[in-house]
Symmetry: C2
């Protein structure tokens, strides 16, 4: 605990110096860090091999081992990521909405770093460099707490970047890694609100719940997505089928994948047999209500629990509804506030869906898979916020900044 | 606890209907609620008298009794407040930054209500109507938890407004009051993150700390202000004196009042004797370092603890510093992130102060007392945020909204 306090103080100290760095300097550091990671690839790969060995010993499954594994090419990708961040516009320093008040005060909002960002994440070591890059570009110090599975890889990456920072005469405490991955230390980290300005958990539902329940630091919730596609009675059914196939199967393990389909009863006879066929070709298991099972013979019965599930797998639930209102009510009851889509040709229903569905991203006639910082044009992504404060939806560099009011006066006092 | 869950569900239910109300309808309701409060003044005054009686019985001090007390004129002011909120622009519904992506998707951010707002506050019954007005105008349902001292007054005001809502055919659960003011219920309320989207504590440092430590609902911290005025070596000393007098004494019990003064050692001889005199005239007790005490004979010795104090009283600490950098470092160490001012004629030092002081509002040559939603031109204020997420500084209607991405497609799928 003592040690955590120390880390917090060091990050705070580093953060103050970061406020003064020019964009040019920050970009130079990012490019240097990218070069150095590739130069030190041998050492990073050797450390990664230790994690891989432990993973295999502990019976880690193939998917997780693949996420954990680094190669020379993956390190090149990580370095490229830092270079891409260097190429992005720096949002820090912009002044927004400066206006003159009747008393002559000039009041505006200046965009500034958040300060110290905490990130708690699971396995993947590429997040280590990526999170540093995004935080550093926006002038934030960052304290990382990665999973124990990747501790050797994360330590090697952090060591390399900290050396690059030092070589560039920047306080290396701009990047700190908590190497004690015990549960107690993680909990204590969540209480470090004296030093850490925001905590971003990146991982499964369990991790996020634990952070929300235990953190005294303001949290940005990311992640879980029980996303729906609703096929309205006026939908172009070929378009609907393509969108559903894309949203469900283009990549199944991601938070913006479709987990549940709602179908207006007036189009169920024309849509479902063909849709069932196409989903079956992709090995998707279907869990439906009675009407769905009547039209897709091998569909299983959906239980109440299915409507709330984020499968992250080749499984989808399908329900028939009698109106757009029923679809909206169902979505607002079961969704996780991530991404929701309607396929329709009705102007009225499209607007109603956009207005009333409560989610970070609401689509008309497009796949939910577009919910992504790169697809939205931000050039980066630190996560997808499913909460309503500060940032909602894909978060780019802007989400890692705050504003402060700056006020230019000439002696004004309040009467 | 059971009952709290019920309240949460009712608020959530009401919130969904609020999303559909037009601005016109919302304004009509606010004006009706204002009229009705005045019509029901007799009942409200009678209930307020019960609180006053209890307060007197419990030895409540004169200041608190005054804050608790309602009169016909104060009820008129409360009603006027609601009418002023009705006259403000409605921020909900605006679409920001809609842009076309290369694939044809049209992506923009629509401003929407937060959903259900929770407010925990102390004594003053005027907050009850005010908080409702601001939340309702922005389409939010609100759950209030006021102090036990004002329970009769708050209940009477809430009953009146709920009747007005019903008379306007709006679900009265848009305004809910937690009448059980026990500590256990308050703690349980802070855990209601399933139904409540944001929790805003309004009150003293103790209340705010308890909310930050216990809430699983995202919190907007408001309030405490250890605000500084720094007099630079190039300052116009008459201006500096006026600003300090205003910031310290125009109203002492408020969060944007000055609690600590920093003086460049090169101007201390010319500034402090006169400043000491003027502060003494206003009955302000001075606690200073050695240099200060040498120039203001009746100043007491400041302890380390004084630099971190929010007195909210006729007391001020004064410290001499040898540079703007020392002033900035001192402020960043001891301040609460509220409002900070420099008095200077140096362009370089002004910019440095604006850049490096970490606070919601940073002033050059003006009193910290301007940190206020009305002074900033928002026409309203739900509180002053001293945290960095979502909203920082005075919060008007905008702080009670969030955005969601709305995306117009024509069949786009991700490749």
């Amino acid at each position: 605990m003592e040690k955590l306090e120390q880390l917090g103080m060091r990050a705070k100290e580093a953060e103050i110096a970061l406020r003064m760095l020019t964009t040019e300097k920050k970009n130079q550091v990012l490019r240097q860090a990218a070069d150095d990671l590739q130069k030190r690839a041998d050492r990073i790969l050797a450390e990664n091999e230790k994690d891989m060995e432990n993973g295999r010993k502990n019976g880690m499954n193939a998917g997780l081992l693949d996420r954990l594994s680094l190669t020379r090419e993956r390190i090149r990708q990580i370095a490229l990521g830092l270079e891409q961040i260097a190429a992005l516009d720096d949002p820090v320093g912009e002044v927004i909405g400066m206006k003159k008040r009747p008393n002559g005060l000039l009041i505006g909002q200046k965009r500034v770093p958040l300060g110290v960002v905490g990130i708690i994440y699971e396995a993947r070591p590429n997040v280590t460099a990526d999170a540093f890059g995004l935080c550093f570009k926006t002038g934030n110090a960052v304290i990382l707490k990665g999973g124990s599975d990747a501790i050797f890889s994360n330590t090697a990456i952090v060591d390399s970047i900290r050396k690059s920072l030092e070589d560039c005469q920047v306080n290396p405490d701009a990047l700190l890694l908590i190497t004690d991955t015990s549960r107690e230390t993680t909990k204590a980290f969540m209480k470090l609100n004296r030093y850490v300005d925001v905590l971003i958990p990146r991982g499964g539902a369990g991790l996020i719940r634990s952070v929300v329940e235990n953190s005294t630091i303001p949290v940005i919730e990311t992640g879980t997505g029980n996303c729906h596609v609703y096929v309205d009675e006026t939908a172009d059914l070929a378009m609907a089928t393509d969108i559903i196939l894309n949203a469900k199967t283009q990549r199944v393990g991601v938070c913006n994948a479709c987990e549940s389909i709602l179908v207006h009863e007036k189009v169920k006879d024309r849509l479902l047999p063909e849709l069932g066929e196409r989903l079956r070709e992709k090995q998707v298991e279907i869990r439906g209500d009675g009407a769905v099972r009547g039209l897709i013979p091998d569909a299983k019965a959906a239980t109440e629990e299915d409507w709330g599930r984020e499968y992250l797998d080749y499984i989808v639930s399908i329900k028939t509804v009698s109106s757009v209102d029923e679809a909206i009510a169902h979505i607002n009851r079961y969704n996780t506030g991530h991404s929701e889509a309607i396929v329709t040709d009705s102007y009225e229903n499209a607007q109603k869906f956009l207005d009333l569905v409560d989610a970070a991203c609401v689509y008309v006639n497009a796949s939910t898979r577009f919910t992504d910082g790169f697809e939205f044009g931000f050039g980066a992504e630190i996560g997808i916020s499913t909460q309503k404060l500060h940032a909602r939806g894909p978060m780019g560099l802007l989400a890692l900044t705050t504003t402060k009011y700056i006020i230019y006066g000439s002696g004004q006092i309040r009467s």
